[in-house]
């Protein structure tokens, strides 16, 4: 069942489980089937205290936080995926950065280098991390051994960010055997990553 609630005052959920009028243990079984698909928010309706307690126990065991409202002997349970899951969702938002140069911005290379050295450490600290970083042209100089931003890029990899460096570019600059972080990639993968992203930020 997929219902979107947009009435004012109602919480937005991705699934609703209606366990009212169902004999024990149907409300638990129905909820379990839904939670196994790992939705972020679920609303469960039951009409007795026992079902309310049982669904709560199930939801908490499966990593959901439970908020209960009672109205005229009907219980609405709002289940939301716990904090840990939230962080994972943020990391896997499909935003891709395309880094086309070792310097950020145009007009002054010295300034561009300074900006570049500030940009990547800052990226490790933001809550919303990209899915992938793609390095092309002189950008590939940032993934090799003496790169000034190597530590930051390694931290991003640890945080689940994918780093792709264009193989053709690395060849061109004779840097293929000096790659210190990420994967040597090809045009096909790069194009695939860019076209399947929700958002592409080009630097």
């Amino acid at each position: 069942m997929l219902l979107r609630l947009s009435r004012r005052g109602e919480k937005k959920v991705s699934e609703i489980v209606d366990g009212r009028g169902r004999p024990c243990p149907q409300p638990v079984i129905m909820t379990k089937k839904v939670l196994e698909k790992e939705p972020s928010k679920v609303k469960v309706l039951v009409d007795n205290q026992v079902a309310c307690q049982n669904v709560t126990r199930l939801a908490e065991k499966m990593g959901y936080e439970v908020e209960i409202t009672e109205k005229e002997s009907e219980f609405s349970l709002y289940l939301s995926k716990g904090e840990k899951r939230e962080r994972e969702v943020l990391t896997s938002t499909s935003t891709v950065f395309l880094i086309t140069s070792e310097v950020l911005g145009r007009g002054g290379d010295e300034l561009g280098k300074v900006l570049s050295r500030a940009f990547f450490p800052t990226l490790t600290e933001t809550a919303s991390r990209p899915r992938s970083l793609i390095f092309i042209n002189t950008g590939v100089r940032l993934v090799v051994e003496d790169s000034p931003v190597l530590d930051s890029l390694r931290s991003l990899v640890d945080l689940g960010v994918e780093i792709l460096a264009c193989g053709t570019c690395l060849d061109y600059f004779g840097l293929k055997d000096k790659v210190a972080v990420g994967t040597v990639s090809n045009m096909y993968d790069i194009v695939e990553t860019l076209t399947t992203a929700d958002k592409v930020i080009s630097l």
Binding site: C24, P25, Q26, V28, I29, K32, Q49, V50, Q53, N54, V55, T56, R57, L58, K61, M62
Partner: protein, 307 residues
């Protein structure tokens, strides 16, 4: 014995040496296979006779059945299960009664006999006694999971077979050794039936949680909320009589879980407890355990402390 001590069965003195035991029990199916349901219901009904130290002699079938919706073959299988269990107990089926009902139910009215010197009530537990439980807990939770399709009969067959097992051997051993008090664990769960025994005897108890035999599947199913309504009622009824300590929730549910055809809960003197445990083992039982001991009452109330 009067109604004050809520004992397991009615006792009627026939003469100086012998007493008549009478008890009755019936309920809707808790498993899917009709034959197994018959076996469990019969074992359950006769259990109260064993809890008094007696033996069943006659049984009468109590049947409620939806003749229009379920076939006669289903009823035949239920009755066959019951009949074979009654025969196993050394008793005879002497009749019965059936009515039309939307939901099937089955059980027995049982008459038994007990030598008065062997009679075991629930009212003579003594401070210092050891408490022995003969079957694992968790049948209510397992039946709920089965009903919901979360497990199938095959996955819980050991528990089903245990529910279909007569408390006959346990009763024979306990009367041979000599015990102070006994009850069987059924609808009120371990803690509910223990409380009745403690109140009747004017004592309290300390239970060691890790020593209580439980079906492991029941614990993990309780974790995901497959808990029968009866469990919550039992907990509510006992909220002023049980100190739960640091008992984790799922195990707590198993201790309050309503049982069907559960084991005997025996209060035996400290001196005879080892002998009883060994004799039960010798007789072929392997699920029994000492789960705690009888302590003085606390402030006039039979309190159960779980450690």
């Amino acid at each position: 014995m009067g109604f004050e001590t809520s004992d397991d069965a009615a006792i009627y003195k026939l003469n100086g040496k012998l007493a008549l035991i009478q008890t009755v029990d019936f309920f809707p199916p808790i498993v899917d296979t009709p034959y197994l349901f018959g076996q469990i219901a019969a074992a359950n009904a006769m259990s109260d006779v064993y809890a008094m130290g007696g033996r069943p002699v006659t049984a009468m079938n109590l049947v409620a059945f939806p003749c229009g919706t379920l076939g006669q073959d289903v009823l035949a299988e239920i009755l066959r299960g019951g009949a074979e269990k009654i025969k196993e107990a050394g008793a005879v089926v002497v009749g019965g009664h059936s009515i039309e009902d939307k939901e099937p139910k089955y059980g027995l009215a049982v008459s038994g006999l007990v030598e008065i010197e062997n009679l075991v009530t629930n009212a003579q537990a003594k401070v210092g006694d050891r408490l022995v439980l003969t079957k694992p807990l968790g049948m209510g939770i397992l039946a709920t999971a089965l009903k919901g399709g979360e497990v199938d009969e095959g996955e819980i067959m050991p528990a089903i077979e245990m529910a279909a097992t007569l408390n006959r051997t346990a009763a024979e051993v306990m009367t041979k050794i000599g015990v102070n008090a006994c009850t069987d664990v059924t609808g009120f769960g371990l803690l509910g039936h223990l409380k009745i025994l403690l109140d009747a005897s004017g004592v309290g108890a300390q239970i060691k949680a890790e020593d209580v035999p439980v079906w492991p599947q029941a614990v993990s199913l309780a974790e995901i909320g497959l808990i029968p309504e009866g469990c919550y009622h039992n907990e509510e009824d006992l909220q002023n009589s049980v100190k739960l300590g640091s008992l984790e929730d799922s195990l707590k549910s198993v201790f309050f879980d309503p049982q069907t055809s559960g084991g005997l809960l025996i209060s035996v003197s400290r001196q005879r407890s080892d002998e009883l445990v060994n004799a039960l083992k010798q007789a072929g039982l392997n699920t029994h355990a000492v789960i705690g001991e009888v302590v003085p009452q606390a402030g006039g109330v039979g309190v159960i402390e779980i450690v």
